[in-house]
Each structure stands twice: as structure tokens, then as C-alpha cells.
Symmetry: C2
Subunit: 198 residues, 2 copies
């Protein structure tokens, strides 16, 4: 069986989620959307929760790829690298709405499945580690003040998640570029040297 | 029919959502959990989406009440009022996990229902207006620098949402009090006078 088929099923699942939501997702609908038999679908995935997990891993990998491309294109300077991450993530919230649909549906299922919680924890741990490393670099270069890199990473992640939710819910509230500048300003002031230990 | 019965059904729905999630919610389960007949349930609610909307409005009202109580107890000083909001919201994320369960399940249904989007927009508009008013007061008192109050409100809301998600997903990552101090520090630096126009 071609390995491409699994990816094709996951993409079909993401389209189904964006269209109808997880509550109305069925294995039958996914098979139809992917153009495969239910037998083939069940060869790859046990149930709809199993496909939801694969959908989350796929959109998280897509997001990481976009962030990596944005970082590679720009300056290596820590502030510029953080700004590139923020901008790439907020662009996704506006341009690829299905990414946040998948995240939100996944979070809805998480309280009921330990495996999903572990997947999400790994996605967040990886994001925090990547952000923390850039912050650490900025601290070493004395561009940023002495903060705990893990705290700064949690803050940046929270801002990106929170603003992405607002952009997802009200796409006309603010253009992504303006939202990104706003987040950059908050992060810059949080990390700027001086101004006490707060 | 006693008006208390509607509230009782909504509370039962919130318990069902926390236990099983929206995908597995049925009118039958809600009726059983609430101890009412399906006839009575249908007298109050058309379908499960209709109950989900009521659940969101109930947890949002609970959250507003907790925020109001926290603000009334503390100082009227704008920084203290913002800190009270942040602390009250993060405490809810840790102590009343069902609140975030309802929000996340509601967000999952939102793309598929205009009415749900309108309810969420109203909840967010109210939160932004309340936060913006406190920021405006701080600007007038020259405690905060000149920012657009709507921008500051969006930032504070994003931080609270984003950190609440992290506390919901990984309750052991950080105590609520520490998370609140972290958010306070970010907001304080963002709003502190001086340091250029960023």
C-alpha cells in the first residue's frame, strides 16, 4: 500500500473537521472524502480519535515547517527570530484556519484521552524549548534581560495562542501584521534590559 | 415549571461535558444527569448545540462574577485591578476545570454556527471593554503610558487565555499564583511609562 495514502487520509480528515467538526466526524465520511474504502481506512486508523491525533500531528508539523522557513529567511538576531516565529504563527491563524480548527477539536478530546494529552504536551514542550533557546541566546548576548527562558517561552506561547484565538474567532478584528507588531511590542518590552526585576 | 429547572439542566450539561465531551453528549444523557424527562429538556432546549450555548453563557457569567468579586475586594488602583482580573481568571483555570472544557467545546462548534459566533463575540467584546476601561483610567492617571486601550485589552485577554490553556493542559506545570505573577510582570512592563513607543 502506498505510504502516501495515510497522508491523504489525514488531509481528508482535516477538511472534514473544518467543514463539519469532530462531533459529526465519522469513519465513513473520512473514507468517502479521502476516496478510500473503509477497510483501507481501518488499516491505518483504529477510530476517529486516532485520526484526530494524526491530524494534530500533521498541522503541528506544518506549523513547525512554516516557522523554520520564516526563521531561515530572516536575521539570526534573537529579536528578529522571535518576531519571525510570532508572524508565522499569526499568519497561519488567518490563512490556514483549519490548523486552529484541528487544535481546538483536539483540545476538546484531550480531557478524555491520556494519549492525546501526551501528544499535546510534546508539541508544547518542543515549542517552549525552541523559544527558550532563542531567549537564552538573547540573554547571553545581553540583548535581553535576565529572565527564566522557560518563563519567557511560556509567555510568548501564551500570547501567540491567545492572539491566534482572537484572529480565528474574529478574522476582521485586526490584520495579522498588526497583531504581530502588537505581540512583538509586548515581548520586546518584557525582555528589554533595565526597568527592575518585574 | 420552576425557573430553577433550566439552570439545573445547564449545570448537568456542564458535568456531562467535563465527563464525556461534546462529541458524546446526547439529549438523553443530559436529561438523565439533570433528573428531568426528555420532554422537559426539549421544552427548554431545541438540541445539544442549544444547550452548549447556554453552558457557555453560564460559565462566562460565573467567570465575570468571580472577576467582579476579586476587583471589589482589592484596591481601585488600575494596576491592582488588572492583577485581580488576571488572578481570578487563572484561578478558575486551575480550580474549575469544567469552565475551560466548556469554552473549548464551544469554540469547536463555533465554525459551524453563526449564533455561537455571535455569543462568543459578545463575551469577548464585554471582556475587552472592561479591561480597556481600566487601562484608560491608568492612562489618564499617568500610571500607564499612552497605548490604545483596545490593543492593551486584546493583549491582556490573549495572555490570560493562553496561560489558562497551558494551566488547563498541564496543571502541574506552574501554580496559578506564579502564572499570575508572570502575566502581571508582562502587563506591567508593557504598560509602564517610558521606554519608547513600542
Amino acid at each position: 500500500m502506498p505510504p502516501v495514502r495515510r497522508a491523504q487520509i489525514v488531509r481528508a480528515t482535516i477538511r472534514c473537521l473544518a467543514q463539519d467538526g469532530y462531533a459529526r466526524l465519522t469513519m465513513k465520511k473520512v473514507a468517502r472524502e479521502a476516496g478510500v474504502s473503509q477497510g483501507i481506512l481501518h488499516y491505518y486508523f483504529r477510530d476517529k480519535r486516532d485520526i484526530l491525533a494524526a491530524a494534530l500531528e500533521t498541522v503541528a508539523a506544518d506549523l513547525n515547517r512554516r516557522v523554520a522557513v520564516a526563521q531561515a529567511r530572516g536575521s539570526r538576531e534573537p529579536r528578529a527570530r522571535l518576531a519571525a516565529v510570532v508572524r508565522a504563527c499569526l499568519d497561519v491563524a488567518v490563512q490556514q484556519r483549519e490548523v486552529w480548527v484541528v487544535f481546538i477539536e483536539f483540545w476538546g478530546e484531550m480531557p478524555h484521552d491520556k494519549r492525546l494529552r501526551a501528544i499535546n504536551a510534546a508539541v508544547y514542550a518542543r515549542a517552549r524549548a525552541a523559544l527558550g533557546a532563542v531567549v537564552q541566546e538573547g540573554i547571553r548576548a545581553r540583548i535581553f534581560r535576565q529572565v527564566r527562558p522557560a518563563d519567557a517561552a511560556a509567555v510568548i506561547l501564551a500570547l501567540v495562542d491567545g492572539v491566534s484565538l482572537q484572529l480565528t474567532f474574529e478574522p476582521d478584528a485586526m490584520p495579522a501584521a498588526r497583531a504581530a507588531r502588537l505581540v512583538d511590542a509586548v515581548v520586546a518590552r518584557y525582555l528589554a534590559p533595565g526597568g527592575g526585576s518585574t
